[in-house]
Amino acid sequence: MILMALNFAFGAVALSQLLAMLRLVKGPNTGDRILALDTMVINAIAMIILLGIRLGTQVYFESAMIIAMLGFVSTVAIARFVLRGDIIE
Amino acid sequence: MRARLLPHPLLTVLLAIVWCLLVNEIKLGTVVFGLILGLLIPIITAAYWPDRPPVGRPIKLLSYLLIVLWDILVANVAVAMIVLFKSNKNMRPNWVVVPLDLCTPEAITMLAGTITLTPGTVSADLSDDGKALLVHALDAEDPDAVRDEIKQRYERRLKEIFE
């Protein structure tokens, strides 16, 4: 049963990654693209967690944590660049 | 003396817990090293937060967090239903202006974070004098009802905790 649920979850997360990528391509403006990238980062975290359950190891959690941190910082950096034209004032 | 050695007791506890979670085991060595970090880091960084307001009632803060968690669960299902089953034509996205009674930046930050995390509303901006919050609601016929709910449910409780 877990295996079925896992496969469903893999499919759903992969599909949502594709949908977010579609929004990234479509735009239409910068805010939407930043949002799409942010969503893709969160979906990637979800994917890594699923992989961790599937393979039964703990080593993926550090990477999930690091991707969460990098994703947050890069989202803020891009949004700030759009707002001010500069990241560090 | 106590204020210099232990400037931020809650942060000390939080740092020790975070260290134990990072190492992912609870042994004597981990806890002791976590406490050492928890004691050193607040002393080193104390200069960077001079006007930190005291959290008056930690228990109330805990019950507030539980209420918010529950609201996140309930409202997430509501937003999922809106997204899946409501067509774009029938949706009424609306801007809501929430006048603030809170004064401290920490309390306003908590309120804005709560508004964003509870689905259906996103806090977008603060007015330049810090007296009003701009909130975007996904599906609200009546902006005043949203404003009243935010003031009733969250702001009143935050005011009790921080002020």
């Binding site: 979906n43 979800a46 359950i53 969460a68 | 979670l21 992912n24 964003t116």
Partner: protein
Amino acid sequence: MISLSDLGIISEIIISALLVIGAFFVLVGSIGLLKLDNAMSRLHAPTKATTLGVGALLMASMTYAFATRDGSMHEILVMAFLFATAPISGNFIAKANMHRLRGKKDLPPPPDDHVWGTYSDT
């Protein structure tokens, strides 16, 4: 790899339910991102649905670790980090959207002749 024999039926049901719920909310977040038709509405779906979705997946992972090995807790850290940062990145994206709306009529002004923080010069 998963060995299914050493799991009780109850923990199996709990883990499967959490996995399905989490995947469902992640998917709803992305559907909302694609479906909704104006920039501010689009902000709603992903910032929250994905937080709850990833939260449920992390709970599933934690339950699985407790059912098979001697347990692990650092999922809580990822969860706390996501819950703490989601409002902040959402707020920054909202500000980036407001930057584009500058001077439009549909934005209500704040009371007492002030302006919104994004538009003030200081």
